[in-house]
């Protein structure tokens, strides 16, 4: 009777082998990286010399008193809130529009998603030049209004962050649209018919029936929106590089600046630990949501 037991045991052991490739890469890069970050964050270190000088919690005290850290955190949160809200509203509107009888709605469905597949680096670089004082966007605005418009959209502290938000909204509204489009396709049409027969207006139908039915999609878009806002780097780096001053700096950009431009690897590691802590909360939320949807 020992043979079946032995086979089972071997089978169980071999089951672990299927986990090995993923674990080596994820643990080796992500987990070891996070632990290493915590270690480095206690050093005064330039990232190049073999050893740093241990400074205990100094980097974290510096972080708490660093106005640029707080500005970057604030900008990241403002960027997240603004892009999520606008992309949800516009994405929802597009999902409704492709369900009307309007002409060209098929083209809209195809085109809405084109910006989503473009490289953020290409989109950011393009808008950087479209938004210069003598760029194409001012050219178009001048032609439409009949006045000379030479607003330096990205160089003016009062419009720079708004522009970065709007570029992101232009690129990723198609994603929110996609999620809403898929969810709306699953709504039982008899619910809509019944509401219509009861005499509801389109606005009432959207607000009181359709929007509440899509609560799962709203939640998913909020969580994914925060995650992608935390990851945003190319867009800011290639349009304003955080400027003018620090008015558009975000956490990823500030880490890059500290580590790569200024060789403050120890301090950059402390900033990274702060960013990882925020990201972990949203990893948990994302996994919870996705597993719940799957059930």
């Amino acid at each position: 009777m020992s043979i079946p037991g032995g086979t089972r045991r071997r089978a169980a052991l071999s089951s672990y082998l299927y986990l090995v490739p993923a674990l080596i890469l994820v643990v080796g890069v992500v987990h070891v990286g996070i632990v290493a970050n915590i270690t480095y964050s206690t050093l005064d270190w330039n990232g190049i010399s073999p050893n740093g000088k241990p400074v205990g919690a100094d980097n974290y005290l510096k972080l708490l008193n660093d106005p640029t850290f707080w500005v970057s955190l604030r900008n990241t949160l403002v960027f997240a809130a603004a892009t999520i809200a606008l992309q949800m509203v516009f994405g929802f509107a597009l999902a409704v529009l492709v369900r009307t009888r309007a002409v060209l709605r098929g083209l809209l469905r195809t085109l809405a998603f084109v910006p989503v597949v473009l490289a953020p680096a290409v989109v950011a670089t393009s808008f950087r030049f479209l938004l210069t004082p003598d760029g194409s966007i001012n050219g178009l605005l001048s032609a439409v209004t009949g006045q000379t418009i030479d607003q330096p959209w990205l160089a003016d502290p009062s419009t720079a962050l708004l522009m970065i938000v709007l570029i992101n909204v232009w690129q990723y509204t198609g994603y929110s649209f996609l999620i809403y489009d898929a969810a709306m396709g699953q709504i039982d049409t008899s619910v809509i018919e019944a509401t219509r027969i009861d005499g509801a207006s389109t606005w009432q139908l959207l607000r009181l029936v359709v929007a509440p039915l899509l609560s799962g999609s709203h939640l998913v878009l909020i969580v994914l929106g925060v995650i992608s806002a935390l990851k945003t780097f190319d867009l800011v780096y290639l349009t304003t590089a955080g400027g003018p001053g620090t008015t558009t700096q975000v956490l990823t950009g500030y880490i890059y600046k500290q580590v790569i431009d200024q060789f403050h690897a120890g301090y950059g590691a402390a900033l990274s630990v702060a960013l990882v802590a925020i990201a972990l909360v949203f990893s948990v939320l994302q996994v919870r949501l996705s597993s719940r949807e799957a059930k």
Partner: protein, 262 residues
């Protein structure tokens, strides 16, 4: 769903459709138009002939293909263990893998830089492939696990009763059955790899190994900015992926919404 509209409602929705199309198309049209300014179509020839464009194209392709392959292998096999084989502790392993889900790659640059330098991988494809694969696996493993969990249990049990080993089941049955989710993982990983900008920027200083997203920088220096060529480069970089999207719209939509909606 909203097709029973009165005339007024139809007019309003038509206006909104036109406005939405205009807002979507205007920046794209401006980019294409500007890319032909100055020397006209010659701009495109110059982008391809005066930069290592074809070399970068090849580098992007190699990095993306290897990353996609590794992510698929790691995601499907770990999902198989977690969803079907379920050895003791697999829940913990799943948590370990999924923890990296929301992690911004930039948050790892300090340790990555140190490790990549220590391993002698700086200025190699691996300096981009390894971190990119590691941060792409969690999402791949998540959608693959959800997919395999939704398969009927009998599929595995019947194969085992017929004498198939875990490995035979994995290769002969699960991988063919999981083709739709493999397509999904391929699309979102390829898109992320093809569009990646930061990792090559930091870890590849050798111009022979750079990738496509770096081409526009060839036409912007402190002294000279050649906007039409920057835009021509942008169009050339985007063309393959936009074409792929237009040809495989359904697959792209499913791929990009996986993990968000079921």
């Amino acid at each position: 769903m909203f097709q029973h509209q009165k005339l007024f409602g139809r007019a309003i929705s038509q206006v909104f459709v036109i406005i939405a199309l205009a807002l979507l198309v205007a920046p794209l049209a401006m980019i294409v138009q500007t890319s032909f300014q100055g020397q006209g179509p010659e701009n495109y020839v110059i982008v391809i002939s005066t930069t290592p464009f074809l070399r970068f194209f090849l580098n992007s392709l190699v990095i993306s293909a290897v990353t996609v392959l590794l992510v698929i292998i790691c995601s499907i096999s770990s999902a198989y263990a977690i969803a079907t084989l379920r050895p003791r502790g697999s829940r913990l392993f799943m948590v370990l893998i999924l923890a990296g889900m929301a992690l911004p790659g930039i948050a790892l640059i300090v340790p990555l830089f140190y490790v990549i330098q220590a391993l002698g991988l700086l200025n190699t494809y691996w300096a981009v492939i390894v971190p990119l694969t590691a941060i792409s696996i969690p999402f791949g493993a998540l959608v693959a696990t959800n997919y395999i969990r939704a398969l009927p249990v009998e599929l595995y049990e019947a194969a085992r009763i017929d004498g198939a080993s875990n490995w035979t089941y994995f290769v002969r049955i699960l991988i063919p059955v999981a083709r739709p989710i493999i397509a999904v993982i391929t699309i979102f990983t390829f898109l992320a790899a093809w569009n990646e900008y930061t990792l090559p920027l930091i870890f590849i200083q050798n111009t022979d190994l750079q990738v496509l997203t770096q081409v526009p920088t060839y036409f912007q220096s402190q002294r000279l900015v050649d906007t039409p060529k920057i835009f021509a480069a942008g169009v050339l970089i985007s063309l393959p992926i936009v074409l792929a999207y237009v040809l495989m719209q359904r697959l792209f939509r499913e791929g990009m919404s996986a993990g968000a909606v079921k």
